[in-house]
């Protein structure tokens, strides 16, 4: 088996499982938040911030942020490995794919830090 040094867990089967588990977390979170928004038309700040201002929802949101990071990396990695290849980009493909991957990592890292800051930052 070839170990893919840039895949999330260096292992395809493990990435496959992570992709599905994170998908379930995100699907549940989406339904939960969207359900709350739909059931509260004309939402005000107190209701909205109250919804997020408890440990349970902070943990759930953090899980969703972490799931987003893992899910996005596996997805963007797969897309990059499928399309940014020598037969589409020529001999510079490896360099370009590496730059693309670094770009994705930086964006995901920024999302992670931003998400943590929203949840637990003192602003």
């Amino acid at each position: 088996m070839v170990s893919q040094v840039t895949s999330l867990s260096r292992n395809g089967v493990s990435d496959w499982v992570i992709q599905r588990v994170s998908a379930l977390v995100l699907a549940t979170y989406t339904l939960w938040v969207f359900g709350f928004v739909v059931l509260n038309p004309g939402m005000d700040f107190a209701t909205w911030s109250g919804f997020f201002n408890n440990t349970g929802m902070q943990v759930f949101t953090m899980l969703a942020v972490l799931s987003t990071a893992a899910h996005a990396w596996i997805g963007m990695w797969t897309i990059g490995s499928d399309y940014l290849r020598e037969h589409t980009l020529g001999p510079r493909a490896t360099t370009l794919r590496f730059i693309y991957q670094i770009g994705c990592v930086l964006i995901i890292a920024a999302y992670l830090i931003w998400g943590i800051n929203i949840l637990w930052g003192n602003n």
């Binding site: 379930l24 699907a27 989406t30 911030s49 897309i79 037969h87 994705c104 999302y111 800051n117 929203i118």
Partner: protein, 128 residues
Amino acid sequence: MKQNSRPINVGIGDLASFKWPITALSSITHRVAGVVLFIGVAFMLYALDLSLSSEQGFLSLKEMMVSPLGKFITWGLLSALAYHFVAGIKHLLMDMGLAETLESAQFAAKTTIFFSAALIALAAIWVI
């Protein structure tokens, strides 16, 4: 024997000459929606940050979301989310061994497109 002139590799330039069966269309749309959401997370985090920052921030986000551009972004992200969600459920069902024949896979792809189109229409009504 006739020389086989079919290309060994296909590139971006060959996209137009592809046949796009419904299963392929539903698959690539799942990917496109995923990329849209990847960029969309920035908008979602911005919205969450602003909405939770203060009462004033909450109200200014509400104001942004009723502007034409705000409505379009909201609807666009909800649409990408709806499609990616429904296609993701299809993926999980297929992981369990469902819809693996040609006909059932085509049915699953059509069902995905039908349900997500309905959700996207609902999202449009909700946003407006």
